[in-house]
């Protein structure tokens, strides 16, 4: 079933393939200090280094694991740089566990400062979660910490340092857990595909550069030639109008990633595009790819030209299979795919960064002699008004008047509005324009939700909505709220039924005001059906079906079918120019813990008041993403929140203790972080 142990022997350009020692020598590119001296004395070609690095992951399995964390000099770009490595490997060893067993992990710190390992996505006792300051005191230099916990789940996960910026410099690895019961997914061969971003710059320098000049790494800004091209195409007046909002706001519609290919080299299993990672398959095989985004800052769009990908799991949890051509993977997310490559072919596994400043690439091939074409990157995404959570530029006046009232409107009334559209003869296909899309999406999410609802609740729902939308054209924002309240008496608590997302009113707290927050979304779109910036036209333009969160339905029935007893609305906030990040305008250092009562079922609604896409990660408990089917809610540990959008998930507070809750973009994390206490 697995191929990890064999691949090194099959590797065509692997002079070290005879090594069997798993911990040290297999990764030739990780030079020890003495090796570095020798290497710097001898002029080595980049290819010589590159040849040595296209290597598979090293796997460790069993119940007891000894891991050491060290500094090592590595050479990924052609220049030596310092990495933080686990067992002398970058990425660290792939850990293979079995559901139902108890694992023991002895982690030795050989650094000159504290370290830690966090088992990302694992449901475990709080003391074993590995977050310094919350779960334990961290691992001091020279000390060994013993983690021990029962493995109660299966699937694809990963682990990483939760100390400082060590994760950026290589302190991460994959976890694969075999299920106790029969594997519901059939496959003949599997590979872990660990995506990451590497920089020769010290992470502290990257962070300082961003604080001093937030667009330091952005080389996709608008230029004068873009301006002249726009004027030529649209005329001076229209160009002025189109840019006016951005210019007034002092924001750029080209602000996609904080840290880009200007400093990053994108890796698959530690291999740079200079020497792509390679994976073999045999004729007729179903190959399972366990894709993990262990980047510090990079969201990837992944595709394998020529192959359909069937998504069978997300964040380790099985989902109802959905076949796509492309998917976006946020930092810390995982997706399991089944692909059926044809013999005699080579395929590129292509992961372009969200801002198109670079890519990671690997090859699936039936023969190392075959080479696959490297696809071109897609155009650089350009943000729209909708991505700022602003009213959308609608052709239809009714729409814009609706959106304008959005300050006082609840999310629900927006959805109601979208519902109304589904009955309009003008379908999504006939709508044109970028900003319309978000709208069309809302509508489809409603229709989807309605399909899967029971007859009774659907009636109630639909009736109420129609009455709401009917009045909408003439109603003021205030009377509309009244309607929303009517509706609330119909549902359990007025916050919306479990599985369908939030109905609650959008509230910007007082703490969001101040120099630390540069934007507040007044009319956030639903992030559920939106493939995201830079992917929205791919169906139309390239006939690529792009995965959205709305496509994710749990394979197994929802365990906790209770309605949420309350809703917590959190706003992701920041000031890009000052490079400050926060939640509800408060950074972690100034915030109070978020308290949950043990056993309660709550909804968390995240509203993104920024132009960045934030992967939000809740430790210790599942984030049950409300994708429209209450009976099959998919469980995730990390949820992408699109710019100017909102998204909701349910949480059952079944894990006592202190947990971290944060944006998984490494340089957002120090500020955009909350302590969650379950008691």
């Amino acid at each position: 079933m697995t191929e990890f142990k064999k691949t090194s022997d099959q590797h065509a350009c692997a002079p070290q393939s005879t090594f069997t020692n798993k911990s040290v020598s297999r990764r030739q590119f990780v030079f020890g200090a003495s090796a570095l001296l020798a290497v710097t004395a001898i002029p080595f070609s980049r290819n010589a280094v590159a040849d040595a690095i296209a290597r598979p992951l090293t796997e460790l399995s069993g119940r007891v694991f000894d891991l050491t964390i060290d500094y090592q000099t590595v050479n990924i770009t052609g220049e030596p740089a310092q990495a933080t490595v686990i067992n002398q490997l970058l990425p660290g060893p792939l850990l293979r566990w079995k559901e139902g067993e108890t694992v023991t992990l002895r982690v030795k710190n050989n650094l000159d400062r504290d370290t830690s390992l966090h088992w990302h996505g694992m449901i475990l006792p709080t003391g074993m979660d590995g977050v310094p300051g919350l779960s334990f005191g961290g691992i001091k230099p020279g000390e060994t910490f013993e983690y021990q916990f029962p493995v109660k789940q299966s699937g694809t996960y990963w682990y990483h340092s939760h100390s400082g910026f060590q994760e950026q410099t290589g302190a991460y690895g994959a976890i694969v857990i075999e299920p106790k019961d029969a594997e519901p997914v059939a496959f003949d061969r599997e590979y872990v595909v660990m995506l990451s971003d590497w920089s020769d710059e010290a992470p502290e320098s990257i962070y300082a550069n961003l604080k001093k000049q937030s667009d330091y790494y952005n080389y996709h800004e608008r230029t004068l030639s873009d301006l002249f091209a726009d004027i030529k195409k649209q005329g001076l007046v229209n160009t002025w109008k189109a840019r006016s909002m951005w210019n007034q706001q002092r924001m750029t519609d080209r602000d996609i990633s904080d840290v880009t290919g200007a400093t990053y080299t994108y890796l698959i299993n530690g291999n740079s595009p200079a020497q792509p990672w390679q994976a073999l398959f045999k004729a007729g095989e179903k190959v399972r790819l366990r894709v993990i985004n262990s980047s510090a800052m990079t969201i990837f769009d992944v595709r394998i030209p020529g192959l359909k990908m069937t998504v069978v799991a997300s964040d380790g949890q099985n989902v109802q299979p959905v076949t796509v051509d492309e998917f976006r993977i946020g930092v810390a997310e995982t997706y399991d795919l089944i692909v059926e490559p044809e013999a005699g072919n080579a395929y590129s596994l292509f992961a372009q960064s969200i801002d198109r400043s670079g890519y990671a690439i690997g090859h699936l091939t039936s023969d190392y002699g075959l080479s696959a074409k490297v696809p071109a990157m897609d155009p650089v995404p350009i943000l729209t008004h909708g991505d700022m959570g602003m009213k959308m530029d609608m052709a239809n006046m009714d729409h814009s008047s609706m959106a304008m009232g959005a300050d006082s409107m609840s999310g629900h009334s927006m959805q109601g509005h979208a519902m109304d559209h589904s009955s309009m003869p003008m379908g999504a296909d006939s709508m044109s324009g970028h900003s319309m899309q978000g709208h069309a999406m809302d509508h489809s999410s409603m229709t989807m939700g309605a399909d899967s609802m029971s007859d009774q609740s659907m009636q109630g729902h639909a009736m109420d909505h129609s009455s709401m939308t009917m009045g909408a054209d003439t109603m003021s924002g205030q009377s509309m709220q009244g309607h929303a309240m009517d509706h609330s008496s119909m549902t359990m608590e007025g916050i919306g039924l479990a599985g369908y997302g939030s109905n609650s009113e959008l509230v910007h707290l007082e703490s969001e005001q101040g120099p630390q927050v540069d934007m507040r979304a007044d009319a956030p779109q639903s992030g559920l059906n939106d493939p995201g910036i830079g992917l929205r036209e791919h169906q139309e333009k390239y006939h690529r079906k792009v995965l959205t969160y709305a496509d994710l339905k749990g394979l197994h029935a929802t365990k906790d079918k209770r309605q949420p007893s309350r809703e917590i609305q959190l706003h992701l906030t920041g000031n890009m120019d000052r490079y400050m990040w926060s939640i509800n305008g408060l950074k972690f250092a100034d915030s109070e813990p978020l308290e949950l009562s043990y056993g309660e079922r709550v909804r968390i609604t995240l509203v993104n008041d920024t132009m960045m896409t934030h992967p939000m990660h809740l430790h210790g408990m599942w984030s049950e993403l409300e994708t429209g089917d209450p009976d099959y809610i998919p469980r995730k540990h990390t949820v992408l929140v699109q710019p100017g959008s909102k998204i909701s998930y349910l949480v059952t507070a079944d894990a006592l203790g202190q947990w971290a809750y944060h944006c998984h973009l490494l340089y957002h994390m120090p500020g955009m972080f909350r302590k969650v206490v379950v008691k």
């Binding site: 300082a208 001093k212 330091y216 800004e221 030639s225 007034q248 630390q516 120019d577 950074k587």
Partner: protein, 237 residues
């Protein structure tokens, strides 16, 4: 050139002193940082043209910083200007800092002292603004406004137009300053960012004395208007 070095030396010492205490606590969201920005270090292409240094440095956190501004112009030993401002900078809005402190005009002599109240920030349509009110001895007051924009020709080739003007409340014959709008200058610089932190440039700099100041300067037999082609470097760290 001796005097031109002094602001650089000042900045250097400042940077060195704070550099030593620079702390990157582990993933601290708001570490103590320091930055030195040499906005202009340039010389005119004709003999007799001035050598200019315009630099800033700060030490601090996201919202509160100690801020140093140095402006120096050296033409000859008896024709030089050196001004230093030491400010406390406090963020008051997403794009605006309020800056308070002191300014010392070391050259020309006699030295003048001022209290400073200013705003520095980014206005809509991407105008970089630095505006300040100065209150000096003997009831003197002054205002200064400088406005700058950055136009990207390419991602690395950047054109920077800027305008600065000064006005004073009363005559100060000893330093050749007259009341009212005293001078205006405009510059256009084209830099190439070899790296984000190091960019050589060429430019055109024009300045003109106005009103009473122009009269004072004229009576000294000096020209009231100057145009220079400059070469220089912009750098920060």
């Amino acid at each position: 050139m001796k005097n031109v070095k002094s602001p650089i030396l000042t900045l250097g010492l400042f940077a060195a002193s704070v550099g030593c205490s620079l702390v990157y606590a582990d993933a601290q969201d708001d570490p103590l940082l320091t930055s030195v920005m040499i906005d202009q270090l340039e010389t005119g292409l004709n003999s007799g043209d001035a050598t200019n240094v315009s630099a800033q440095a700060w030490l601090g956190y996201d919202l509160n910083k100690l801020w140093l501004k140095v402006d120096s112009e050296y033409t000859s030993s008896d024709e030089q200007e050196l001004e230093v401002q030491a400010l406390y900078s406090h963020a008051v809005a997403p794009y605006w800092n309020l800056q308070m402190g002191v300014r010392q005009d070391i050259k020309p002599t006699p030295t003048r002292h001022w209290a400073v109240l200013g705003v520095q920030g980014l206005a809509p349509y991407w105008f970089d603004i630095d505006a300040a009110l100065f209150l000096g001895e003997e009831g003197r007051s002054a205002v200064r406004l400088s406005v700058e924009q950055e136009w990207l020709v390419t991602q690395k080739l950047i054109l920077t137009p800027e305008i600065e003007m000064n006005a004073y409340s009363q005559n100060d014959a000893k330093t050749n300053i007259g009341s009212g709008l005293s001078d205006i200058s405009a510059g256009l610089r084209l830099r190439y960012e070899i790296t984000r932190k190091f960019a050589p440039y060429i430019g055109l700099d024009w300045s003109r004395k106005l009103g009473n100041t122009a009269d004072l300067v004229r009576s000294d037999g000096e020209s009231i208007s100057e145009t220079q082609f400059v070469v220089g470097v912009k750098a920060w760290f």
